[in-house]
């Protein structure tokens, strides 16, 4: 068995509740396609050069890298327990994948399905595909659309783990601990950095986008919720608490056709894929992924 362990930040530019799933710019939720940015595509991008990626600035010139940067790579590879250093740094992608709920019509309560699911691993410079395999929602009918899938079929693509206040997510995304206080400090730091950036920005389009981001980052508490907490101590708002800490984990045995394989996989067997998404950052429109893919060898 060849095990590829991968991780890194990915981007997912999509609308958030209560916007409709197909909202292209963002209105009622807290994610927006800002001035000068393309419409949302709703697609999971593991690599920074994928069409549709739109990475934002995080602060003044001196602090420009203080935020997520897209890039999911193999951090460790082992063949039957022995290290395979040549594969370290290989690029991982979920081609055209989306995290889907359809506002409760298909699934509910953040138990998102991932669809379509096609995993590709390429060389570290991206010039050569090493392995590429699809998963079928319904092996008996590979063309079946998600709209027609049964509950059991959707269940395979839904999370098996849902953890709030995850210390693993906090550590992976650079937070010292998974407390609300730390989250709020993190948001406030980002906001201060953006305010500095705004001061040194002249382009009116960039300024308009920054103003919206700063306005959103200012909302850290549920200001509207008068029946919870006290006036001086409000419950934390979803803009802040979803910045980190939540972890959703999927276990999917990839069962479909192998489009390319230079690693010697057994095409007749499923290849177990285990991963979590967490640390969703609504300002960066990024989150963190960590996982492994077990390629069963011939």
């Amino acid at each position: 068995m060849l095990r590829l362990e991968f991780e890194g930040y990915f981007q997912m530019r999509m609308a958030t509740d209560p916007d409709p799933t197909d909202e292209k710019r963002g209105v009622s939720g807290y994610t927006f396609a800002l001035a000068g940015e393309p419409d949302f595509d709703g697609i999971i991008h593991f690599q920074p050069d994928e069409p549709g990626v739109c990475e934002r600035a995080y602060g003044a010139k001196s602090k420009k890298d203080e935020g997520p940067r897209v890039g999911v790579t193999v951090r460790r590879a082992t063949r039957d327990g022995q290290a395979v250093p040549d594969l370290t740094g290989a690029r991982v992608a979920f081609l055209d994948a989306q995290v889907i709920e359809h506002n409760g019509i298909l699934v509910r309560n953040d138990m998102f399905i991932i669809d379509p699911l096609r995993v590709r691993v390429s060389s570290s410079d991206g010039s050569r595909v090493l392995v590429d395999r699809s998963d079928w929602l319904n092996p008996a009918d590979p063309k079946m659309a998600q709209w027609e899938a049964t509950s059991a079929m959707l269940l395979r693509r839904q999370p098996k783990r849902f953890i709030t206040n995850s210390p693993e997510v906090a550590a992976a995304t650079g937070l010292s601990d998974p407390s609300n206080k730390t989250l709020i400090e993190n948001r406030n730091e980002r906001r201060v950095n953006l305010e500095e950036l705004l001061n040194e920005t002249e382009d009116p389009v960039e300024c308009a986008a920054l103003e919206t981001r700063i306005e959103q980052l200012k909302i850290v508490e549920k200001w509207w919720d008068l029946s919870e907490g006290t006036w001086s101590e409000r419950p934390i708002d979803r803009r802040a608490y979803t910045l980190a800490l939540q972890l959703e984990g999927w276990d999917i045995d990839v069962n479909g056709p192998v489009h390319k394989d230079d690693l010697g996989g057994d095409k007749t067997r499923p290849w177990p894929l285990r991963f979590w998404f967490g640390g969703w950052d609504g300002d960066a429109l990024c989150a963190y992924v960590r996982g492994s893919w077990d390629i069963m060898l011939s």
Binding site: S28, R108, N109, P159, R161, A209, E228, R238
Partner: protein, 492 residues
């Protein structure tokens, strides 16, 4: 002196009026928000679009909170044994429909005049210039300078001061109440704030007169609310999300709290400092100021016609304020919008009704009513309508919009089995309606921004087809097992 509420029937009447008012305001706010421009092909610069999008976010927040107020009013009604109601007149209505309070019911695009009207709806009493009794003039806009000063005052106040403000008796110089058919007892009020003050005092007085236990005779399980105490806490259906805060009303203290929350949020009674910029009045004050400052008062919104209707509803007045939709495709979509809106109200009515419901049934109704209907059908259809022509003649300009038309009272069958059959029939009818609309063709390819890929249909057609798929899935799930919509697995 003001007439006080002195019986349960009067209190029910006042709460039904409050529900109707909140419902009407919500529709007007949504109509305006959906009319705002969104895309780079609509003639605004990117930085202007960003500003306009922020306004849309704020107005939809206010509209959601009007839904919250409607929910609170229905909880108040249910708590004292009243029947929930989603009845309201179609729009437009004459200026004095609600008496001399002059709340104009009309659907207009989001321009400076519309925002002035909204700002006045939500204005605190002390910023409204009283008009002479009997005046036929439209109400004067709020003084923007004074409004700005009011909203910039960030001094925090305590709960006690808020209590005092709401507990204050209505003014003695009340104007004549609304000659409204539902308002049998002619509850006098000169503003929305004052109506709620009257209701607040009514609860206190009747609790003393009848005894608290005798006043609050409604079943607690009929209350819909959110937050940690709610059965729906932590799910999509938790009502205390997205700027909403709905509490359960079971006694005098919770009734007073519900009224206080409505007044605090909207009508501008004192609020905590962090809250003030988000009061409805201050939101509209800010938008009005920015519209003027950036010269967007007439250009931020699409050329949406006022009060677009599929038919001339018999209760509208004056008729010449109605815009009849004559474009065949547009009218079909507008009919679909109205039908979806009515089904959503039916689902809500059942939710608030006294019919026996298990927890699973309550959840299932919420699963269907809130996220799918509100977000996945009603809003997208409304947005589509503001992008497509209202009229069949090409030289007649103007886009349509959501008319929120009701063809009659929203009522349920008394029998439970018949009710489920009714829902299934209505969902099946919507499936057919969406099927018809997408099979009528794609006349929108030549509209701005619609042809993004030569091989694909227009953006509008694609969105309609997406809605069709969603409705088919919803109806099929309802038919197979209506208790399991979107719940292929439980939360682990």
């Amino acid at each position: 002196m003001a007439q006080e509420i002195s019986s349960r029937a009067e209190l029910i009447d006042a709460l039904r009026l409050a529900s109707e008012l909140e419902h009407g305001l919500m529709a007007q706010y949504l109509f305006a928000a959906y009319s705002l421009k969104r895309y780079d092909y609509e003639g605004l610069k990117p930085e202007q679009l960003e500003r306009v999008r922020r306004w849309a976010s704020l107005i939809t927040l206010v509209a959601r909170q009007e839904m919250e107020h409607l929910g609170l009013a229905l909880n108040l009604l249910s708590a004292i044994g009243g029947t929930p109601s989603f009845s309201r007149p179609n729009m437009p209505q004459r200026l004095d429909y609600y008496g001399e309070v002059k709340i104009k019911l009309t659907l207009t695009r989001c321009d400076e005049q519309t925002i002035e009207r909204f700002q006045r709806f939500e204005a605190p009493d002390e910023l409204v210039e009283p008009e002479p009794p009997g005046s036929k003039n439209p109400p004067k806009p709020v003084d923007q300078e004074k409004a700005g000063e009011w909203c910039s005052q960030r001094k925090g106040v305590g709960v006690t001061e808020v209590e005092k403000a709401i507990d204050a008796p209505p003014r003695s110089d009340l104007l004549k109440g609304a000659p409204h058919i539902d308002l049998l007892y002619g509850i006098p009020y000169s503003s929305v704030q004052e109506l709620y003050q009257t209701i607040h005092l009514g609860f206190e007085k009747l609790s003393l007169k009848l005894g608290e236990r005798n006043l609050f005779v409604g079943k607690p399980e009929n209350q819909l609310y959110g937050g940690p105490q709610s059965p729906q806490h932590g799910t999509m259906n938790d009502l205390n999300q997205y700027g909403l805060d709905i509490i359960s009303v079971t006694d005098l203290a919770s009734a007073k709290q519900a009224v206080r929350m409505i007044v605090e949020q909207g009508e501008g009674v004192r609020v905590p400092p962090a809250y003030k910029p988000f009061t409805h009045f201050c939101i509209f004050t800010r938008i009005r100021e920015e519209m003027k400052k950036y010269g967007l008062g007439q250009t931020a919104a699409r050329a949406v016609v006022p009060n677009p209707m599929t038919v001339l509803q018999p209760d509208v007045c004056p008729e010449d304020e109605v815009s009849r939709i004559t474009n065949t495709h547009t009218r079909a979509i507008a009919q679909l919008f109205n039908e979806s809106y009515e089904v959503m109200l039916l689902l809500l009515l059942y939710l608030y009704s006294d019919q026996v419901k298990t927890r699973a049934e309550t959840d299932a109704l919420m699963d269907a009513a809130f996220f799918p209907f509100m977000t996945m059908f009603i809003r997208p259809l409304a947005e589509i309508l503001t992008e497509i022509p209202a009229y069949k003649e090409k030289d007649e300009p103007g886009q349509a919009g959501p008319g929120f038309e009701l063809s009659g009272d929203v009522i349920l069958f008394p029998n439970l089995d018949q009710t489920w059959t009714l829902f299934q029939e209505r969902l099946d009818s919507l499936v057919q309606g969406f099927g018809r609309v997408v099979s009528m063709g794609d006349p929108w390819l030549d509209l701005p921004g619609q042809r993004t890929d030569p091989a694909k249909p227009s953006q509008i057609w694609q969105r309609l087809d997406y809605l069709r798929q969603s409705m088919e899935r919803l109806a099929a799930d309802w038919s197979a097992n209506w208790l399991n919509i979107g719940r292929s697995t439980e939360v682990l």
